[in-house]
């Protein structure tokens, strides 16, 4: 009996990207510490290795933190499909867009 009931406007893709980016920032702060990250701007173009200067073991912890926030996202398959150099050169945007796609 949904006729006549107004449905809230669906979250747009851009909104979703922004919301996931905020979550990635928050989990990143938890993993590597706010003091360091205050000097680094986290945008979709930021790279984890060159810009954030994240340790590889911290990236593992970041992925775990995000898995907890987004249990429906299949991080295992996503990481399994990437080679080492792709993971090392990953941009924040690639991670955010992947999560947003899974949520969409």
């Amino acid at each position: 009996m949904s006729v006549g009931v107004s449905i809230p406007e669906a979250e747009t893709s851009a909104d979703r990207i922004q919301s996931v980016l905020e979550t990635v920032r928050t989990v990143l702060m938890d993993v590597i510490g706010e003091d360091y990250l205050t000097d680094v701007e986290i945008t979709l173009d930021t790279t984890f290795e060159s810009d954030v200067e994240i340790e590889s073991v911290e990236f593992v912890a970041l992925a775990e933190g995000l898995q907890e926030r987004y249990p429906e996202v299949d991080f295992v398959t996503w990481v399994a499909d990437m080679e080492v150099h792709e993971l090392m050169n990953l941009r924040v945007g690639q991670l955010v867009e992947f999560i947003a796609r899974c949520l969409g």
Partner: protein, 262 residues
Amino acid sequence: MSWVNANGLRFHVQQLGSTGDKTVIFLHGLVMDNMSSWYYTVANAVARNERVVLYDLRGHGLSERPRSGYTVEDSVEDLRCLLDALEIDQPVYLAGNSYGGLVSLAFTRKFPERVAGLILVEAHFPVEGWGEKVAGTLEVGGVWIDKPTIIAWREENDQRHHRRRFAAAEDFIMKTSLISDLRNVPPYDESDLCTITCPALAIYGEHSDVIERGQELASWLPNCRLEILPDAAHSILMDRSKEVRAYLLEWLAKQPQPETGG
């Protein structure tokens, strides 16, 4: 982050892919290594079908770094306590890279009933003079930290992750019992290893400095398959991860599901 208290220490542990019939525990190499080398290369591919546990060995990665307790026996006991803490009583597959292979072999010698199979990538095991050689190499590494060439490299690569890794390695080598504990590791010979009867896969690089260990494993373990990657040295897990992963997945798929322990 996932922390598990075991053997009196706090360990950084990651569990992936919880539904598989087999459980694979990944053990990394010494000092500059941590669980990420397995995570970036092989562990997620295995986790598509099996239950995977990765952990940072004591002193490494995000796990606690006590001032002492770096004998092989300490690491074997850590693994036993971790399996108990995670309530894993089914025999597991141990995948060990380099020093992680040594811990895997030592664990299997002590608790053969808890191991379904071994995956040994560039595994070390102690032979006559091994402890002295590894300790000497680490000591030199510790001294090198102050050498002009290393200082210059560090200045050129002054990034947070490099700084953190160097600081951790320096602390580990100079301020814990690691070197003296390694120096005293007794050597293994054929009689120590021929009792390991579980299926094993050993993968080595053709030009590895420990290729002889691979050949000895293949000849001494009654059920060991050896694969040698051409034109490769010791760091095959990172440098030749595609081939390592392919061999490991193919071998693991052929292994029977372990019976539940009790």
